[in-house]
C-alpha cells in the first residue's frame, strides 16, 4: 500500500503536475508538497508525498562506500 515511485516534475498546472517516470508520463496531485518544475518527487496513489533530494541520495551512496 505504501508503495511509491520516484519521478520528475515535467510541468505544473494548478494542483496537478505531469510526472515523468523514466519515459512514462502520468499526472499526479501536488496538494501535499511544495515543488517546482525539474524537482524529483515520490508519488503514492496519485499524490506526490515528498521531494527527493538528489544531494542526499548521493550522500547515502557515498556513506555506504565509506563505511564498508
Amino acid at each position: 500500500m505504501c508503495l511509491a515511485y520516484p519521478g520528475k516534475v515535467v510541468s505544473i498546472s494548478g494542483k496537478e503536475g505531469l510526472i515523468d517516470y523514466g519515459g512514462i508520463r502520468k499526472k499526479a496531485r501536488l496538494d501535499l508538497v511544495k515543488v517546482k518544475k525539474g524537482d524529483y518527487v515520490i508519488v503514492h496513489t496519485g499524490f506526490a508525498i515528498e521531494k527527493v533530494d538528489r544531494k542526499n541520495a548521493l550522500l547515502t551512496l557515498k556513506m555506504i562506500r565509506e563505511t564498508l
Binding site: C2, K51, V52, D53, A57
Partner: protein, 354 residues
Amino acid sequence: MNFRDPALIKRLSKSIASEAKGLPEMKLMEVCGSHTQAVARFGLRKLLPENVKLVSGPGCPVCVTPSSEIAEAVWIAKKGAIVTTYGDLARVPSSLGSLFEAKAGGADVRVVYSIADAGEIARKNPGEKTVHVAIGFETTAQTTAAFLNSSPPKNFLVLNCHKWFLPAMDALLASRDLKIDGYICPGHVSTLVGSNAYRFLSEKYGVPQVVAGFEPLDVMLAVLMLVRQLNKGEAKVENEYIRVVKPEGNAKALGLMGETFGVGNAEWRGLGVINGSGMPFTRRFGHFDARYALKPKVSRGADMPNGCACANVLKGKTEPKDCRLFGRACTPEKPIGPCMVSVEGACHNALRFE
C-alpha cells in the same frame, strides 16, 4: 545513482556478518508491506548471517483491516452505492462475503488507483452515492486528507478505515511475549511524521530503529546500522532514507492531516484494539463519513479462518512457512488468510519468492 548495485550489496552483506559475529540472535522487524516485498523479492534474507533474523510485522494495510470493516463495505455495496477501493482489499472475505463476490452478485464495486479517481467517478455519477473504502496508514491517509480538503463532490463519502501506525509499533514492543531487538521503520509513513517521531519508542523500550528506503541497498544498510547499534549497546533513531525523509516530516501534509483526522481507538486484524491508532474524522469532515451517513449494520465475523496463523505472522511470532495451511490449502491463487491475499502480505511474499 544505483541503489541496487550488486557489488555494494555483497559488501554490505559481508560487513553485517562481521559486525554480527559472536552476538546473540537478533530479531529485526520491518513494519512496512513495501519492505516485506523488497526483502522477499531481492532475496535479502539469504544475505544475512544466521543470528540476524529479519521478520515482517503488521505493515500490510489489507492484512490488518478487520473483517468487520470489510463487511461494512460489502453492506454498503449491496445497498446500491458505487463502492471504490484499492486492489487486494476487494478479495478479502468477511461475514458478508468479499467485495468481489458482491460485484459478481450485481453490486457496483470498482478498483481505483487513487482517491482522486474515486472522486472523478462520483463527479460522473451525480445521481448516485460513491463510497470510497479508505484503508492504509499515514502514507495513504494524507492523500484522503488532501482530497477532502479540495472541494470533493457532494455525493462522495468515505468509509474511513485509516490507522495511525506508530501506536501499533508501541503495542508490539509493549507485548511481553514478543522479543523485537530493532525496527526498520516504514519509509513512506516517515515522509509525513518525520524520523524524530519514533524517538519515544527508543527511549521507552531501549530498541534501536532505522528509517529506511525500499531499494535493496537501503534495507541492507538499515540492517547494518541496527546491528552496529546493538553491538555498541545503543538505542537511537537513525535515518538511512535522508533523500526523502526529513527529521520533522512534511509540514504541509501534517497540517492537512490535523484538519481532517483526530485520534481514537481502532481494531487491527490479529492485534485487537490498539489505543490511539484510530483516525476518526474531525467534526469539520464528519459529513463525508459513510458510517454516519449510511449506518451500515454488520455483525462481527471471525477475523481469522480456522487453522490460519496470520494473527501470529502479523506480530512476527510465527514464520509463514510454519503455518500448516501455507502452500498447501492456502496459496496466492486460493488464499485463505489475509496475509496470503495481499501482494504485501508476509505469506504471499514468502511463497512467491522464498
